[in-house]
Symmetry: C3
Subunit: 267 residues, 3 copies
Amino acid sequence: MKQSINEVINVVKQKQPLIHNITNQVVMNFTANGLYALGALPIMAHERREVAEITAQSDALVLNIGTLTEELLDAMIIAGHEANKKSIPIVFDPVGVAATKFRTQAARQILSELKVSLIRGNAAEISHLAGLKSSMRGVDATAQSNGEMTINQVVKKLNIPIVMTGKTDFIADQSSIFKLSNGSSLLTKVTGAGCLLSSIVAAFLSVNQSEIISATAAVSYFTIAAEKAAKTATSPGQFQIALLDALSELKEADINERLQIEKVSVS
Amino acid sequence: MKQSINEVINVVKQKQPLIHNITNQVVMNFTANGLYALGALPIMAHERREVAEITAQSDALVLNIGTLTEELLDAMIIAGHEANKKSIPIVFDPVGVAATKFRTQAARQILSELKVSLIRGNAAEISHLAGLKSSMRGVDATAQSNGEMTINQVVKKLNIPIVMTGKTDFIADQSSIFKLSNGSSLLTKVTGAGCLLSSIVAAFLSVNQSEIISATAAVSYFTIAAEKAAKTATSPGQFQIALLDALSELKEADINERLQIEKVSVS
Amino acid sequence: MKQSINEVINVVKQKQPLIHNITNQVVMNFTANGLYALGALPIMAHERREVAEITAQSDALVLNIGTLTEELLDAMIIAGHEANKKSIPIVFDPVGVAATKFRTQAARQILSELKVSLIRGNAAEISHLAGLKSSMRGVDATAQSNGEMTINQVVKKLNIPIVMTGKTDFIADQSSIFKLSNGSSLLTKVTGAGCLLSSIVAAFLSVNQSEIISATAAVSYFTIAAEKAAKTATSPGQFQIALLDALSELKEADINERLQIEKVSVS
């Protein structure tokens, strides 16, 4: 797996994919800077009259419902149809989906009208999407549930590749589940860390046919960058900056030395 | 007072209150990161169809008119009614209220339709709300007026607890006024410093019944964090990051050593 | 030229002009912090009911179409008419103008209905506005075309002073063209660096009658600040912060030592 991961990373850095983000207002700046740091190109656009044209020029589309409005939902559906028509991968980030009926219905509409390539969320969000019980406060999961059991259940129910992040991260499709144990607890102190990961996953999906390999490479890259950042930065302000720096500078050797990956049995 | 302040700080850190912010687009990211650094949880949401549900789950609501639109104002009124119904404290931040008729009318509507727990603003904003003369350029007060006289006048007129920030900060209700002399001039160089303070005040209000004690604790915590940040960071970029770090790391000893508080006579 | 540049810089720092930005959601925070660092005052406001009042109090207006919506376009036209009425300078930043029909038409409307004082964009954006062929991906120019030839062509076609940024920067009006070779490649790794420059150009235009001198001073100040920042910060996260610091601390001596300016012959 290490070799596949490093291959995908190299292709991302070389191709500099353009990522169309229809995302929330809190994280736009950090997401754009994170994508630039990685070596990808961000574009944020959400006017209904132009989103299809933007998506058509992009290598991947990210739909993030963090500060969703009716107008943004319309724009997501329009952009999503264009992405599907052109076979451009879509990553869906169901931020705080369990918090309101509006978000729950919006997520249902997105998943029923569009062919989503991958969903990235925390255990509470992913569980809610799959109709399982979950517990969260606002947009943050309150507790790490039993990750292996949860991922096994949700991936079968949703039938879409999934990245479920938390203290440990799971990447799953119908046939395989990987568990990654890299990262830093400081990621929970930076707003938009998860949202940025969704956009990085999108960048990786755009250069490789296999969702599970691309997503595993993306999560490895991101969480190992966070580990490196946490070596020099121990508080949340500094860490935010160090994470951008690490995303820009991570080397193949960092992946090889630090990667903690396990295959989980599909039950 | 030191003991009460430190007690409230400890409760905030332990309870991790969820703060619903309907705020301006300039400061959303910084506000969210500041609340995380403090140990609270931010949520930003402003779609009219979902704000009541978000507020109902939150421990406090912040209404900030910095980049107000008609849609945001509607969302604020809806969320505010829900907060009042559930006795959830509301902090109102009248950013640039004197600048336009739209903001002036919006502030009047908010204060007449909702029971606001506390207003946080600079001298020009607070004076304008109270119908006194004020002077400002854009959203920044141009000069420190006579603080003690101003706070005495406005708190009587408005009949709502007030945090009035500037070179010195005042926290007042009908019966007491406190003057705090901590802080750093670098706070005026970071956009959204005042807005973040409003959200931190909301976090503190959510864990204690007394507005004046909660707000004094919040302002003390924030301005002493700024002092500590200014010890290592002398320019605005670094200071922005150091402030987040200080918000995350401030200790009881910092408060005890640095707090400069005075009781002001109510005239 | 060095003396004129330093004179304009001193006037900006002394007058602290108030800059009204109707800009994109990605860069609002960074733009506001950059203007504060420079010593100017930012205001962001885009509600149609209040923009004219905000513009009327401001020293310059920036129109940036980075995350344009129909509502924002309306607000820009209203604010722009007020600016024209009061002879307040307008800087237009046509972010990603070639990417969609909506942006192309919006730019045409802005340039036909309003008297714009200066346009700031990359070669692809400026070329597109002038009806020349251009090449870009998303909002980023893909390659530096022949700068001198391009600036000569576009300034004649558009008949508006222009700042065209890239590896080298050009400032031009009908009678003169200046070429500046300061800056850092790290500027391409920070989202909103160009947008911030547009707002800084606006601050400089507000204190001096000559667009070409003001804009040359602004670009010099910004790109030399970037050079200084790149001396201490070699990765994009750190650089973002160091740029704000350099904008706050740049000295006349820095301009005098580092300025690399050339007059280009107008063909």
